[in-house]
Symmetry: C2
Subunit: 155 residues, 2 copies
DNA sequence: TGCGATTAAATTGCGTGCGATCTATCTAAA
DNA sequence: TTTAGATAGATCGCACGCAATTTAATCGCA
């Protein structure tokens, strides 16, 4: 947590352009649109791709562990994982040790899709028009912001 | 558009933490959660609040103009505006000059809700834990990123 | 004036995203 | 051992968000 400096009052204007949350919101929409064509060709969606990244990163995880990494609830993940399973990209099975948990892992087909999307994303990265320093700084600041927001909303 | 410098290859790792799009995506989820309680108390949602900001900013706009500001399609805005109308926060009426267009404006009740949310958001801004310089820089970089992405996806 | 092309919004279908709730399983204390 | 509580996923209902399509109004040009 950086110093919790209070924003000066004159920053509190009422225009959309003054809202940091709107900058994040609209940039997220823009990323969705930028990636749309790539994902459509592969037959997956943006959050499904994030799930494949998480699975490729660590393999064999429970729904809860995936949710922690992706910041999603089981009510979101369960249907998403069932769609990935129906597409043949992941497997879901009850853990033998603890039947409450469901373990998810990538199939070879899922790994192939992940790698195709991973290669394709380079053109999107170039489309950001950011120099590497800005890219890295932006990423770091966003993650700090995210974690501060989550920490405060879990008070 | 800044210089379109190519990202160095070694930045292309496969972990969620390396994806700028995931940083934006998850920060957006975090903002949603941070604002949730405030909006719930007021009986609106996060995108509805963005719509109220846009309406307060300029008043009396068509659905298309709102969509341009909010980066949303009519298929998203029409139901959202109907819900705001049902709640009594906006009015929708066909333009007399051009009956294809629908003009939307804030009611006094809508303006009151906007102002209550506007005051309440200060605590969320403090929860970001960002110093003002970082806050401003982040906002500027995000908007540049967003506009570059949108420009490239409209090729 | 007539009529095809264009435009604005609405509708439809599908995939998130979440709170609330439900079910099945596991844990722990009496 | 029994059973109350906790835990992990799944289900349900609702609100986005968009592509594709439809409907209604306007425009353009002969």
């Amino acid at each position: 947590m950086k110093k919790p400096t209070k924003m000066p009052k004159q920053e509190l204007a009422g225009s959309l352009a003054d809202f940091l949350c709107f900058a994040v919101y609209s940039t997220n929409l823009a990323f969705n649109r930028a990636y749309k064509q790539l994902f459509e060709e592969l037959g997956i969606t943006y959050p499904q791709y994030a799930t494949l990244i998480a699975l490729n990163e660590a393999g064999d995880q429970t729904v809860g562990e995936l949710g922690d990494k992706l910041f999603l609830e089981s009510s979101t993940l369960t249907p998403l994982l069932k769609r990935l399973e129906a597409a043949g990209y992941v497997t879901r099975r009850r853990d033998a040790e603890d039947e409450r948990q469901v373990r998810v892992s990538l199939t070879p087909e899922g790994k192939a899709i992940f790698e195709q999307a991973f290669c394709g994303r380079e053109s999107v990265i170039e489309a950001t028009g950011l120099d590497p320093d800005t890219f890295v700084r932006l990423q770091r600041d966003l993650i700090t912001l995210r974690d501060n927001l989550l920490a405060s909303s879990n008070k």
